[in-house]
């Protein structure tokens, strides 16, 4: 078997992991203005992701590094081509990351509100732009014979790309609100469940449109695995509706679980629609980057496969353990006790 094909799916797996994990903490960040009525409430919300946002974010770093190592041509074309979009994502991630660490360092309301704003914007911008970027990768962009992207930022802002961005924005938002409902108590939990019910409806409409469009694109482009694409899109749709129903019935764990499954199935839908290209060229299909012409040598991929085979299960195990250690709900009284202890 050709290892490049394996790595197409390992990179896909890493992006699935990233979107599921950082996806819900983007959503938690975006939910602050809707659910955080006072400072204790906002701290309660932020603390649901306190121990894990950092390890969630490492997934994008590892996904980027593996993309670089396994598909240098793809990495080079993508990162230089989507320059301004990635710049905005980076600035947002910087602002967001430091805000988590710095907002609690001073006991001033202005100081905290400033960082809260940065958390909201820093979560919304990547949630939107990752969707724009991935939708454009799947749809194809202008790429010349040297594998150089010849468009601009405006090239990416086409209807399908924007719908992709809106889909991830809403999907991550709802996914994050399910998580808040699952991990808090009291008023925040009640508000989160109500908000998720409303946001979930908008998500279903937008995501369904995006999935249908993706399936049509795959059909008209003659994607070799179009059957799998259709099946996965259907799974995504079912999970999406199931998560909404679970939330309406108040079973928060199931709502969050189906929310995560929706993201897994949606990202896989896109990945199989892309196969066997990694970045189709709209200039001339002959210029497209494919799994075969964008990948590293077999020697490099063999070594990396061993590393992934040994370490990815280990990573999953200790990260799962981390979630287990912090499985308890973040209660309002707990934050109040910590605030009282810090004041002494």
């Amino acid at each position: 078997m050709d290892l490049a094909y394996l790595w197409f799916f390992i990179v896909g797996f890493l992006f699935v992991g990233y979107f599921v994990l950082d996806g819900f903490d983007f959503g938690v960040g975006m939910s602050l203005p809707f659910l955080g009525k006072d400072d204790i409430g906002r701290r309660q919300i932020i603390n649901t992701i306190g121990p894990v946002w950092d390890l969630n974010e490492t997934w994008v770093i590892v996904a980027g590094a593996c993309l670089f190592a396994a598909f240098p041509e793809w990495y080079a074309t993508l990162f230089s081509g989507f320059y301004l979009a990635l710049l905005l994502i980076l600035l947002a991630l910087i602002a967001r990351g430091v805000s988590f660490e710095y907002r609690h360092q001073r006991d001033s309301l202005r100081w905290k509100r400033g960082f809260d704003t940065m958390i909201v914007v820093g979560s919304a911008v990547p949630a939107l732009l990752w969707g724009v970027a991935v939708a454009n990768i799947v749809q194809g962009v202008p790429i010349d014979v040297n594998h150089e992207f010849t468009g601009s930022l405006l090239t990416l802002l086409n209807p399908y790309g924007l719908l992709g961005g809106l889909t991830t924005l809403l999907l991550f938002f709802t996914h994050g609100v399910y998580f808040v409902a699952l991990k808090t108590d009291g008023r925040v939990r009640e508000d989160a469940r109500r908000l998720a019910a409303r946001a979930g409806l908008a998500t279903i409409v937008v995501a369904a449109a995006f999935l249908v469009w993706t399936v049509f694109n795959a059909l008209s482009a003659g994607a070799p695995l179009v059957g799998v694409v259709i099946a996965l899109a259907a799974v995504a749709a079912v999970c999406l509706i199931a998560s909404w129903l679970a939330n309406a019935r108040g079973v928060e764990g199931w709502a969050f679980g189906f929310g995560a499954a929706t993201i897994v199935a949606a990202v896989l839908t896109l990945w199989f629609a892309l196969f066997p290209n990694v970045m189709p060229s709209t200039t001339d299909p002959a210029y497209s980057l494919t799994i075969e012409n964008a990948s590293s040598t077999d020697y490099t991929l063999t070594i990396m496969s061993w590393a992934a085979l040994i370490f990815l299960p280990l990573v999953l195990a200790y990260q799962a353990w981390t979630y287990w250690v912090f499985r308890k709900r973040v209660s309002r009284s707990r934050i109040e006790r910590a605030a009282a202890a810090a004041a002494h």
């Binding site: 590892v62 980027g64 590094a65 990495y75 230089s80 320059y83 910087i94 990351g97 912090f326």
Partner: protein, 481 residues
């Protein structure tokens, strides 16, 4: 000069983000170990002062760690954004250590630091102690893989050229991981990181001791910092000496540029200049203060060794080794001399100054000392932190600027590595944006670190006070945002 020259801008951006990233990373490497050692001391002795020191330096560590992570993402994305031709050319070799770093080290570090921060009241004591040691090990492994990737740029090994000459392909991963430059750079970098950490601890404890506060905790912290500084300076010096031997063997031009040595010299003539004034165009020397034999000794470990000069190397590179690149660099393969010359000296000089403060400190605080430490000495000691920090930063300037004009020595010139399709104004925009956000964050970060340092550790509990009710302590969360 074209202000929108993407090459120039991309180089500025790389330099800026690298240095900014490196403001935080070495302290993370060294402080993680320090915190782990203090926590182990508490675990074994049960003495509260070690717990409070763990918490206190842990706070400084975390303020710093957040910045290291967010600037690290920029560092990785930059290769593809600004240096796509480079990424296409070396991705097969250069990408692998980066991917290994992510899979084998960075995941560990980030996950276990999260467990350490929030796990105080959730994990058994011994498991909690293990988390900080695992995070420390993860950080060091990260450093190793990143240095292995960087070493490929300094001294490419373990590859062959593709048949069409379009890219370097890995054929020996073990050689990439055991690159002599990486093996020599790793101890040098780690020792330097511990030296900086010692500098931070000396500065902070001196500040408190000058004011006569937290004596029972700051005295042992100071001792730890002073001895740490001495031991690690010795380590930095020895490993630096090894590194320069490797440098002379693999990148003779870098050593010639560090000394601004134009003509090859042997024995007594291979002297080391402590200070030098060159002609404005940088092609000659007007006056210098020299130590005979020292350069020969540094470069070859022998009094009568020979060191190649810039002119001879240029001749050799242009005619024999790299004629295909000669036109692009106008026959001059030397980096910018005033940068390499002065950065080499400032790196060593600032490191030596930091170590000197530790020697003076150990003398003044020795057990048999008759008189109290004078205030000026405490104030002087506070400079141990900035001196060691700048020594490290300038060391990286030397390493990376000394590699020029190559992006990968002998294989690719820096000017050929830049992204061909990214317009200059895009790079300007990102350069301005990063510079601004970094400047703002630097102000906030320094403010927070100074504030936290000045506030000091929580005071030790009053031994006469009644014990708190059973269970109250366990139930109080220690870390919340």
């Amino acid at each position: 000069m074209d202000l929108l020259d993407p090459l120039l801008l991309a180089r500025w951006q790389f330099g800026l983000t690298t240095l900014y990233h490196f403001l935080f990373v070495p302290l993370t490497l060294g402080m993680a170990l320090t915190v782990a050692i203090f926590q182990t001391a508490w675990y074994r002795t049960g003495n509260q002062k070690w717990l409070h020191l763990t918490r206190f330096f842990g706070k400084l560590f975390l303020i710093n760690f957040a910045m290291g992570v967010v600037t690290g993402i920029v560092q990785e994305f930059q290769f593809g954004m600004n240096w796509s031709s480079y990424s296409r050319f070396v991705g097969d070799v250069f990408g692998a250590p980066l991917a290994f770093e992510g899979l084998m080290a960075f995941f560990f570090e980030a996950t276990f630091i999260g467990l350490w921060i929030f796990g105080w009241d959730k994990l058994p004591k011994g498991v909690h102690l293990a988390t900080i040691w695992i995070a420390t090990a993860g950080a060091w492994f990260s450093a190793y893989f990143i240095l292995a990737a960087n070493a490929f740029m300094q001294n490419p090994v373990g590859y062959r050229m593709a048949q069409d000459g379009g890219r370097a392909e890995m054929d020996d991963f073990l050689a990439v991981l055991t690159n002599p430059v990486a093996l020599a750079a790793l101890p040098h970098t780690l020792f330097a990181a511990f030296m900086l950490t010692s500098g931070v601890i000396i500065s902070v404890s001196s500040w408190h001791l000058l004011r006569g506060q937290h004596l029972e905790m700051m005295r042992p912290a100071l001792k730890y910092g002073l001895w740490g500084m001495i031991v690690t300076f010795a380590g930095v010096a020895i490993s630096g000496d090894q590194l320069s031997l490797v440098m002379v063997a693999t990148q003779p031009m870098k050593m010639a540029a560090a000394e601004a040595l134009f003509n090859s010299a042997c024995g007594a003539d291979a002297s080391f200049s402590l200070f030098s004034i060159g002609t404005p165009d940088g092609t000659g020397e007007i006056w210098s203060l020299r130590v005979p034999y020292l350069l020969a000794l540094l470069s070859t470990h022998s009094f009568d060794g020979c060191v190649e000069g810039i002119n001879d190397l240029n001749m050799q590179y242009t005619t024999e080794l790299f004629p295909q690149f000669a036109d692009q660099v106008d026959g001059n393969f030397a980096p910018i001399l005033w940068v390499t010359y002065w950065s080499f000296r400032w790196m060593i000089g600032l490191g030596a100054i930091a170590a000197l403060t530790a020697v003076v400190g150990l003398w003044l605080t020795r057990r048999s000392a008759k008189r109290p430490v004078p205030a000026w000495a405490w104030k002087l000691a506070i400079w141990a932190w900035p001196a060691s920090l700048f020594a490290i930063l300038i060391g990286w300037i030397f390493t990376e600027m000394g590699r020029q004009p190559w992006i990968v020595f002998s294989l690719m010139l820096t000017q050929d590595g830049v992204s061909p399709n990214v317009p200059g104004w895009n790079v300007v925009l990102s350069l301005v944006a990063f510079t601004l956000i970094y400047a703002i964050l630097a102000v906030v970060e320094i403010g927070l670190i100074v504030r936290t340092s000045k506030r000091g550790p929580d005071p030790l509990p009053d031994p006469d006070a009644p014990p708190p009710p059973e269970g109250a302590l366990e139930d109080t969360p220690t870390t919340v945002y």
